[in-house]
């Protein structure tokens, strides 16, 4: 299910931002084992990149590397990794008030908050992900309020937000359950109230949408409302509502809301998803699963999370990607490469685990026409390794974005 479409209701200013990253370059990559993300790995494979886009992929026997073209060799190469949901760039490594912009606590619902107005592409945590092979990150406002704000999709390179971001409005971030009520305000104080508030706001957005769409030149349109504008975009399926939700009952609430208001839903976190495989499958809703190494305690919404959920979702045929999520303390961000690696012990095939941090998130985010696999025409984004990408003692030895080597450190 492809969810992302350009948001037509947004101001023209965003169009500038969407212009995209620095100009791509020409490069050849040759790898002992090349995981393209589309079928079997290629032994001694080559990827040619022209102007930042992939122009050829295949066995070294069949592809001539043009003379004079810069060549990078590695034992193993994969598509650039995609972090399906993060807050890096809004949340910073220092964890001080001035570098924590992922959550605005003044109101329960603030859909008007744009991620582009807070994203710091030079943040150390963004660099950290880049050094670990992550080339694309879906980041922005995090969980913690019913609607905390918008998200964006960025490449992990680029020094300004304009250079880094390639989808300025990717989704709207929402939270249900314990996470939506963990603030100091009186309201929402519990689950019922939170859902009532969200429904009221979506009904308002529907009215706003009707007024916007009324083709009556005599009557003025509604007074512009930045928040309702975005919610109307959700109701028009121009962007999904990504709901952070863990407990089984709250997952059902999310499915019920998606039914009632007919929006595109993405479940995020979803610790109890293993209890609701049939329901999630029937609703045709994708899951951006919690980090495998999530921490939980008895009594929390995540108390039932399991290392085996990923395997169960895959088995059920539910689209599933992995996220680094949001961390409030140490470590300040997770790394999807590590979170996928842990699944090796819990019934997930290596190729499926790789898919969970490449093509699967690209599809869920609706950017698989550009990234997520090594195919002709897609962005020349790769992660390079000196062995099995998931093995603890293997290193990431390089990261390439649109034909440019953006990291050479050994991690």
């Amino acid at each position: 299910m492809s969810i992302f479409r350009t948001v037509r209701t947004l101001s023209a200013a965003l169009a500038f931002v969407a212009a995209g990253a620095a100009v791509g370059q020409d490069l050849a990559v040759r790898a002992g084992t090349l995981h393209t993300g589309t079928g079997e790995a290629i032994s001694d494979g080559v990827v040619l990149i022209k102007g930042g886009l992939i122009s050829a992929v295949g066995s070294a026997d069949r592809i001539d590397i043009p003379e004079g073209l810069e060549l990078i060799e590695a034992a193993v190469a994969t598509p650039g990794l995609i972090d399906a949901r993060s807050t890096v760039g809004l949340s910073g490594a220092m964890n001080q008030p001035h570098d924590q912009d992922q959550l605005e606590r003044s109101d329960a619902m603030q859909p008007e908050l744009r991620a582009i107005d807070a994203y710091n592409p030079r943040e150390r945590l963004v660099e950290w992900l880049r050094e670990h092979g992550v080339t694309t990150v879906h980041t922005g406002h995090g969980p913690g309020e019913i609607i905390s704000g918008q998200t964006l999709i960025a490449k992990t390179a680029g020094e300004t937000v304009d250079e880094a971001v390639f989808e300025p409005v990717a989704a709207l971030s929402a939270t249900l359950g314990q996470g939506a009520t963990g603030h100091a305000r009186k309201s929402p104080g519990n689950r019922s109230k939170a859902v009532a508030m969200l429904r009221e706001q979506l009904i308002k957005a529907r009215e706003y949408q009707k007024k916007l769409n009324r083709n009556d030149d005599d009557k003025p349109g509604p007074a512009r409302d930045l928040g309702l504008e975005i919610l109307a975009g959700v109701l028009d399926k121009e962007m999904p509502l990504v709901i952070e939700v863990h407990r089984h009952s709250d997952i059902m609430t999310a499915l019920r809301l998606a039914d009632e208001f007919d929006f595109d839903l993405v479940l995020a976190g979803a610790a109890d998803a293993h209890l609701l495989l049939d329901e999630i499958k029937a609703a045709e809703v994708p899951v951006i699963l919690h980090p495998t190494m999530s921490r939980a305690w008895g009594g929390s919404d995540m108390a039932n999370f399991s290392f085996t959920t990923a395997a169960k979702l895959i088995e059920a045929g539910i689209p599933v990607a992995l996220q680094s999520g949001y961390e409030g303390y140490v470590p300040k961000t997770r790394v999807v490469l590590f979170e996928a690696g842990i699944l090796m012990g819990y019934g997930v095939e290596p190729s499926r685990a790789l898919e969970m941090i490449t093509l699967a998130p690209a599809r869920i985010l609706g950017i698989d026409d550009r990234v997520g696999s090594l195919e002709v025409g897609k962005h020349g984004d790769l992660a390079l390794f000196d062995g099995d990408p998931f093995e603890y003692t293997t290193h990431v030895v390089g990261t390439i974005i649109e034909g440019r080597r953006v990291s050479s450190v050994r991690r």
Partner: protein, 443 residues
């Protein structure tokens, strides 16, 4: 060095039933004895809760009475893991009333029925130092636990020679203990308060030692008694510290008062590895998946592990559970290898080094005849992401078995695997959520 032994009294508490008295021989696995080279196709014989023989198949005689357990090809047996720093069991220590509270004992707060204890066993951990938090200069006495079966905390404790429960003293510097009065506001104040406490303890200890009779002794002071045990060398100081200058401040305090100390966490150890090695202070390291989360962890680098090894320092690893999950202790050491530590040093760092840092080195830490039969059976190489912990044995009893559905649930999570009262860490009346957004946090 070892100050612990098993009193006859304590043994009575611990050895529950006949199972431990049986003789068992585990064959077919690769043995990692730690005190010698790896043994392919080895035999491990255990009897009465202790290791009796270790060696190659053709070099070890299996007693006729032994139950022989033939393990799957590729299996690996290593000593039970020693976690030098953990907060399993909803442990607490000092409260928020003062920055120095050596009288508070972890012993009095640990819930041994917590799922955290079970998670530790699922990770191959058999001995653990359960500590109060780091939001104080001195947050209390730690407790060394053997993860044997038991009904109450006293069934699990290691003991000092005098029979009292064994543990160390938790200290901290850097940002965590800093706060509003009566907590210190600066690093210099932190050091001054700690020094004043030890000077007072020196005086108290001298008075006790110099007293001619009971009447002459000072009024009993629980905090001074604990610090006295530190000054006498009985009780190890476990010192939470991150920044390079804070690490050296801790060493300065140690040198001034002559106590025994292990440095813990040590984010910036890579910057002062030579000084740490020269000071002959052991280090218990944690490997974290990304830098930051707090200012003094901004320069956290896993290269501290090889840097310390190359400088000649003694290194162990710890989970700081709930900061990292006890089920991933092996991963911690593997990340050390990823950063450049040798396999040999990383194996020692999970076992014998940690045992030595808890003064348990001649009872646990290696597969040596005469030591406790604490060991882990792995499906493969200890440093591989594909490897699972199959079984964990403590004193000759199986305490974790992946083939057991209940144990498997603990190992994998889900379906109420976490108990309702598992606060997962040192909490001051709130969930870990609160703790880790606020002050007084662990790592």
């Amino acid at each position: 060095m070892n100050r612990l032994f098993l009193t006859a009294l304590a043994a009575g508490f611990m050895l529950s039933g006949a199972a431990a008295a049986e003789v068992r021989a585990f064959t077919g696995a690769t043995l990692i004895p730690i005190d010698g080279p790896e043994i392919a196709d080895g035999v491990l014989v255990i009897e009465d809760g202790q290791i009796r023989a270790v060696g190659a198949r053709d070099a070890v005689r299996v007693p006729r009475a032994a139950e022989v357990v033939e393990l799957a090809s590729g299996s690996v047996i290593m000593p039970g893991i020693v976690d030098t720093h953990s907060h399993v069991g909803e442990v607490s220590g000092a409260d928020r009333s003062a920055p120095i509270q050596p009288e508070a004992r972890a012993l009095d707060s640990v819930n041994i029925r917590s799922s955290g204890i079970k998670r530790a066993l699922a990770g191959g951990i058999t001995s653990v130092n359960v500590m109060p938090g780091s939001g104080h200069l001195i947050s209390g006495q730690t407790i060394y636990l053997k993860l044997r079966d038991g009904d109450q905390i006293m069934d699990l404790v290691y003991r000092f020679e005098d029979g009292s429960p064994a543990g160390g003293l938790k200290m901290a510097n850097g940002t965590n203990p800093i706060g509003e009065p009566p907590f210190p506001g600066t690093r210099a104040k932190s050091a001054a308060l700690a020094r004043a406490a030890y000077i007072k303890a020196q005086e108290y200890s001298e008075k006790v030692a110099g007293a001619e009779d009971e009447k002459d002794k000072p009024a009993r002071d629980l905090g001074m008694e604990a610090l006295g045990e530190v000054l006498s060398g009985k009780r190890m100081v476990h010192f939470h510290s991150h920044r390079h200058d804070d690490l050296l401040t801790a060493i300065r305090l140690r040198d001034e008062f002559g106590f025994r100390m292990v440095l813990h966490h040590t984010s910036e150890a890579w910057r002062v590895a030579d000084q740490i090695a020269a000071a002959d202070v052991p280090v218990s390291l944690i490997m974290i998946d990304s830098p930051g989360g707090k200012l003094e962890a901004l320069h956290l680098e896993s290269k501290s592990a090889p840097a310390l090894e190359q400088a000649g320092a003694r290194v162990a690893f710890h989970t700081d559970d709930w900061i990292t999950d006890s089920r991933y202790f092996l991963r911690m050491a593997a990340l050390g290898v990823r950063a450049g530590m040798t396999r040999e040093a990383a194996l020692v760092a999970m076992t014998q080094a940690g045992a030595d840092m808890l003064d348990l080195g001649d009872r646990v830490g290696s597969l040596s005849p005469g030591k406790d039969a604490d060991f882990v059976i792995l499906s493969g190489d200890p440093f591989s992401v594909y490897t699972r912990v199959q079984q964990t044995w403590v004193e000759g009893e199986k305490r974790f078995d992946l083939a057991d559905p209940d144990d498997r649930l603990v190992a994998e999570g889900g379906f109420n695997a976490l108990s309702d009262d598992d606060g997962a860490g040192h909490i001051h009346g709130q969930g870990p959520h609160q703790l880790h957004f606020g002050r007084g946090a662990g790592q």
